[in-house]
């Protein structure tokens, strides 16, 4: 039995999160790569940009000696080949329109020296893609709409949407901000600075009244919305350059207070990433990744396994990155 086979010998019941990640999550990701170099959302499913990004990011950050350069290179190659002519990336291979995954793909490819042109094209597409809801004529129309009074949000603030020509939402806006923070300034297209400022203000404007974020409606159906773990983590990470701002602190407090009630493995992993990168301690008591796995086997999710790896990564710079992660020579062999 090779070391890899030994580690892959089945579901585990680890009380130690680090061991669970190294013995189960990393082998799961390594084995789930498709022949085309990409990853699907589940083992055996078609390669898509989003899970490929999470898998590459997690394998890179893991420092795992069993991650060969070939695995990452084939992943990068899949991403480069999936880029659309316009510079964006689509969510699924058959789709011909780019969307929010462009930010993720660019984030990952900033670590690949041969992908700088691809990243530049993606950045330009993102900065040219304005959401539709906050266009001046839309805002004028909205003033006469019966829905106008339902939400108190400032529609002049614009971030990014999930898909082009729709509305601004918290997660895609956060991913775009994370990319801008990760990409070197000299690579920013014109207008990027303005987009960043508007997007940051938009995120604060969309914060829930008690701190934290949901998808982007602090008022849901006319009532104060409740924050959710996943968008709160991404928004905090995107806004972490102002760690003393009261709204930021309130949202981080919300996250810290609510981690004990997390019910899904994905939220569990992301909450840990968010808290620790933002300087808070992860509670040592509570459910482990193995506990979560025993419930629903992570629903066989590649992104959730990748987030678990990232949560336990020693390399805290995976998020800011930008510098290619070099795979040790012995691993290449």
């Amino acid at each position: 039995m090779t070391p890899d086979e030994k580690k892959d010998s089945g579901p585990v019941s680890h009380s130690n999160d680090s061991l669970f990640v190294s013995d189960f999550c990393l082998p799961f990701l390594r084995k789930s790569q498709n022949a085309d170099g990409g990853w699907g959302f589940h083992p055996g499913s078609e390669s898509r940009v989003e899970p490929t990004c999470w898998a590459i990011w997690a394998l890179q950050a893991s420092g795992d000696t069993l991650v060969s350069a070939g695995i990452l290179d084939r992943g990068f190659q899949f991403l480069r080949e999936a880029q659309l002519v316009a510079g964006s990336w689509a969510a699924s291979p058959e789709m011909t329109t780019g969307c929010w995954v462009t930010s993720l793909a660019c984030c990952v490819l900033t670590a690949d020296a041969s992908s700088h042109d691809a990243v530049a094209a993606g950045l330009k597409w993102l900065c040219d893609d304005w959401p539709r809801d906050s266009a001046p004529w839309r805002r004028l129309l909205a003033r006469f709409s019966s829905e106008h009074k339902i939400s108190a949000q400032d529609d002049s603030l614009r971030g990014w949407g999930w898909t082009p020509r729709t509305s601004s939402w918290v997660e895609p806006t956060s991913f775009a901000l994370l990319l801008l923070a990760r990409a070197p300034r000299e690579a920013w297209p014109s207008g990027a600075e303005q987009r960043r400022e508007l997007a940051r203000r938009m995120l604060y404007d969309r914060m829930c009244p008690g701190g934290g974020w949901n998808c982007g409606n602090p008022m849901v159906y006319g009532v104060a919305g409740e924050a959710l773990i996943v968008p709160t983590v991404w928004a905090l990470l995107a806004l972490r350059e102002e760690p003393t701002r009261p709204e930021f602190v309130m949202s981080l407090d919300w996250l810290e207070k609510n981690v004990k009630d997390v019910r899904g493995a994905g939220s569990h992993a992301l909450a840990r990433i968010g808290l620790e990168i933002c300087g808070r301690k992860w509670p040592t008591t509570g459910a482990t990744f193995a506990d979560f796995y025993s419930r629903n086997e992570f629903l066989q999710s590649v992104p959730v396994s990748a987030w678990a790896c990232l949560a336990l990564s020693d390399q805290r710079k995976w998020l800011t990155g930008g510098t290619p992660v070099r795979v040790p020579e012995y691993a290449k062999a």
């Binding site: 699924s92 898909t163 729709t166 998808c215 009532v223 939220s267 629903l299």
Partner: protein
Amino acid sequence: MRKPDIALVPSFQRPPSRVAIRRATTYEQDLAAMICETLREFDLRVKDKTVLLKPNLVGLDPLGVMNTHPCVIAAARESFLRLGAAQVLIGDGPAMDRDTEAIIESVRLREFAGPLARTFVDLNVDDVKRVALSTRASRLKELFLPKTVLGVDFLVSMPKLKTHHWAGVTLSLKNMFGIVPGSCYGWPKNVLHWAGIDSSILDINAAARPDFAIVDGILGMEGNGPIQGTPKPCGVLVLGDDPVAVDATCCRVMGLRPEKVKYLDAAGTMLGHLDPEKIQQLGETIGSVRTPFAVLDAFERLRQPNGGVWN
């Protein structure tokens, strides 16, 4: 494999639909026996087939007032297995939160339906296939829909009986919003809002029309649904072989006029029957279970005049 092209049939060419109303006052009673007995009346051809149950899972809901109750989902699953289905999957793609596992855990689905790792399909992240929209009710020319939904033999929409802030009511047709994958369209599926909720409901149901509907009306929601409304005990399960007829019947149970619900009125021309004359009623009568639901001011027009009288 289902045949989506049979979804669109003019009402005058469509055979009468059948809808059964069963009185069920609590989730603790033997719902599997009730649902199984009712399904037998419909003589469904599900033996050796793959069935997909599509409940309405909206968000974290420890009190069980906003999502289809896990007891109803589990009972339906058991019933289809008793009828000889080879496999009964449960699948949904929640719209507001991408942590689907957190939602199914919050509703305690595993507790009632058993292990979910191989049974539950997160439709938000399923493989997708392009479907051209022949209806063109909205501006959307195509949708990328989950291969699981398109590939199963029998699709069952399982909504909760609720009013809806934007659409008036959310029942088996509106519930199909949940098959549109978040991984392609986001959380929420904002492109559908831009295309028009009513029109999108028609396009989605024409592309993947449910073969059957089971509505959890034991505890519904009135007022500012589908999330912030008020729990409304109604004490019924509504089942039928035509989602339009089921939704129309539910509206009548709620004291609302289905023809005043924009998308239902349009669905009544091509997707199913709205006309009570074309709906064969089984079980309880509408009048015997009628429970008027409160609606927001914007939907007062849906109310039956004089409180409504349906038999």
